[in-house]
Amino acid sequence: MQILLVEDDIEAAGHLCQGLREAGYEVKHCADGAAGLAEARAARYDLLIVDRMLPLLDGLSMVGELRAGGVLAPVLVLSALGTVDDRVEGLRAGGDDYLVKPFAFAELLARVEALMRRASGDNRLVGTLRVGDLEMNLLARRVARAGRNIDLTAKEFQLLEFLMRRIGQIVTRTMLLESVWNLHFDPQTNLIDVHMSRLRQAIDRDFSPQLLHTVRGSGYCLKDPGAAA
């Protein structure tokens, strides 16, 4: 998996490159927009991570030109501009996700993975989602584990659906706030933890094995017990 990182802050770029390589990605780094644009056109990358404020050519213009030129690789925009309108601007310019500095590396990694999966066409249009013996019927809006119905609130259902569509992926608290509550700012993020522990009670307490796992320092992960670890 090839990632192009376009970031003018050399130290920050160094941290990101190191972390991404440790996670198993191949990373190429460019320090300005013009070089980034040339590199993205020259080689095929699976993902682009682009800082918004870049010398020579700003990040959004660079993404715009790439999109106009038919480059479809997913783009994660990094930005020091964090108001909600800045985010909308970033997505409108062709970004697929938007991350405001400063962010935890775990947050970046989770989003990189999510974008990679999305790009690889893992976006199933199905009526039923299944993880182990946990089943979700999207039409009847019902959840059952080992054949036993589980009552969930509307939000718990949405949380579980989000996780079940991302089996084995790490999902951060911010990602949950963004997609389930549509909040693109940062309230006290530990609010999510209480909701997740309720969800865990509902789907895991009376059953085995455990499906919903907490990933320290990152977020949550719904694991398929049948899949090879």
Partner: protein
């Protein structure tokens, strides 16, 4: 809307102007009419007086006989001059003149009398008004008069002309007053519309300038110059914002990277691990404060081009109430959401959500255990009100206005965590949406209500 009132003021001015001109023209034409009529009457009377004087001379020189012969001579003039003569003796028997008998009915006015005689003209009987003077000569009465029908016709025409002139002037004035006030109202409406869209954030909009270079265009030109300057300054502020955000966040990102690196080399629970986690928590607090501060600044900058959509704040309140319910529960507060089924506001979805979370977080933070928090969304006709009511310590009346400014906190809360930005963001969001914010001290507690214009529900 303010436009009809403005229109009314121009129309009122034009109406008064029109009224003044019509009165002036009427007085002018009226006095011309009266003067002409008086002069004509005076001329007729003068002719009759002169005639009577000359006949009196004849009588003095030759008595009744001479007068009769003179009158018989003058009868021939009837029809050409329109003169009427009649001399009667003491018994009223006509002696001479072209009238057959003394008029039976007449209107007397001093020595003057007015009556009508009936003549046959082209086979039709026509009444002719006559004005005459009567003198007594040795017991005989002499009447000398003249046909005034011509004069009356002229007076009538003059009167009609005067009325037509006054009427036409009035009509013309009404028309031009209407045109004038419409023109002014149109210009003002154009300016007002441009201003409305500038107020709602479109700083690139300019006032329309016509081709006439009149005072409106001059004013619009000056205002546009002012707007250019404001736009430049706003752009400069935005650049400053962005650089400030960048210059603050980029180093925070580096700090974060270093801390995470340090964490990788630490053992869980050792001093480095504890210290780095504490530092990361502080970093997150700084980050949150910075985010809110920049958001306030952006909202206050007018949200140029702010994306607006129909937001169901009632539903939003329910969802956020649900999100915060466990947090309230863990602090032993009862959190209740009382929202109507749906209440739409046209606005910024994320900022309205932030307003609601700030209200909730504020109450949850300050209300002591055992307390109550109620989040309510109501709609009354054209107004949607979001209010939060708690029985916490409240904010004393005198400090309320100050609490809406950034970084203001009550002394009693100085020890509590927080930045004092919560309510100022609420205030900024309310202002951005042209809403109304109301803080009320309850005993005990606080009620904060934000009212917005309701938007129509989507079809």
């Amino acid at each position: 809307m303010k436009l009809p009132r403005l229109f009314a003021s121009t129309a009122r001015l034009a109406l008064w102007y029109m009224f003044g001109v019509v009165v002036g023209v009427s007085v002018l034409l009226g006095s011309a009419y009266l003067f002409t009529q008086r002069t004509m009457e005076r001329n007729v009377d003068l002719v009759i007086e002169t005639e009577i004087e000359s006949l009196r001379e004849e009588f003095r020189g030759g008595g009744v006989k001479r007068l009769v012969s003179v009158l018989e001579h003058r009868e021939d003039d009837w029809g050409r001059l329109g003169a009427a003569y009649l001399l009667v003796d003491r018994q009223g028997t006509p002696l001479a003149g072209n009238l057959t008998s003394w008029p039976k009915t007449f209107q007397a006015n001093g020595p003057w009398i007015e009556f009508e005689i009936t003549l046959t003209e082209q086979g039709r009987a026509v009444d002719h008004p006559v004005r005459a003077a009567v003198v007594t000569l040795d017991g005989n009465r002499l009447l000398v008069g003249t046909d005034v029908s011509e004069r009356q016709r002229f007076a009538l025409r003059l009167r009609q002309l005067t009325l037509w002139c006054a009427g036409l002037t009035g009509a013309f004035m009404a028309l031009s007053a209407w045109w004038f006030s419409r023109r002014v109202a149109d210009r003002v409406r154009g300016v007002a519309q441009a201003c409305e869209s500038i107020i709602s954030g479109d700083l690139s909009r300019r006032l329309p300038i016509g081709s006439t270079a009149d005072e409106f265009d001059q004013l619009a030109g000056t205002v546009n110059g002012m707007l250019d300057r404001i736009e430049q300054q706003t752009a400069a502020v935005r650049v400053t914002f962005n650089s400030a955000a960048h210059d603050l966040r980029a180093p925070l990102q580096r700090v974060r990277g270093r801390l995470e690196k340090a964490l990788a080399g630490a053992q869980a629970g050792d001093t480095t691990d504890v210290a780095v986690h504490a530092a990361l928590e502080d970093l997150e607090r700084v980050q949150r404060t910075l985010a809110v501060l920049l958001q306030i600044a952006q909202a206050e900058a007018g949200g140029a081009g702010m994306p607006r959509e129909r937001v169901d704040v009632a539903r939003m309140a329910r969802e956020l109430g649900e999100l915060y319910a466990p947090e309230a529960q863990s602090r032993q507060l009862s959190l209740q959401v009382n929202a109507v089924d749906a209440a739409y506001v046209s606005g910024h979805q994320q900022l309205l959500a932030q307003l609601l979370t700030n209200l909730l977080e504020n109450s949850i933070k300050y209300v002591p255990a055992g307390g109550h928090v109620e989040l309510a969304v109501t709609q009354q006709q054209k107004e949607v009100t979001i209010s939060i009511i708690d029985d916490g310590p409240g904010i004393p009346e005198p400090s309320q206005a100050a609490m809406l400014l950034p970084f203001r906190r009550l002394e009693r809360d100085a020890a509590a965590p927080g930045s004092g930005l919560g309510l100022s963001l609420v205030a900024a969001v309310v202002r951005l949406h042209h809403g109304r914010l109301d803080l009320r001290e309850l005993s005990p507690g606080l009620r904060v209500s934000c009212s917005f214009d309701a938007a129509a529900a989507p079809a």
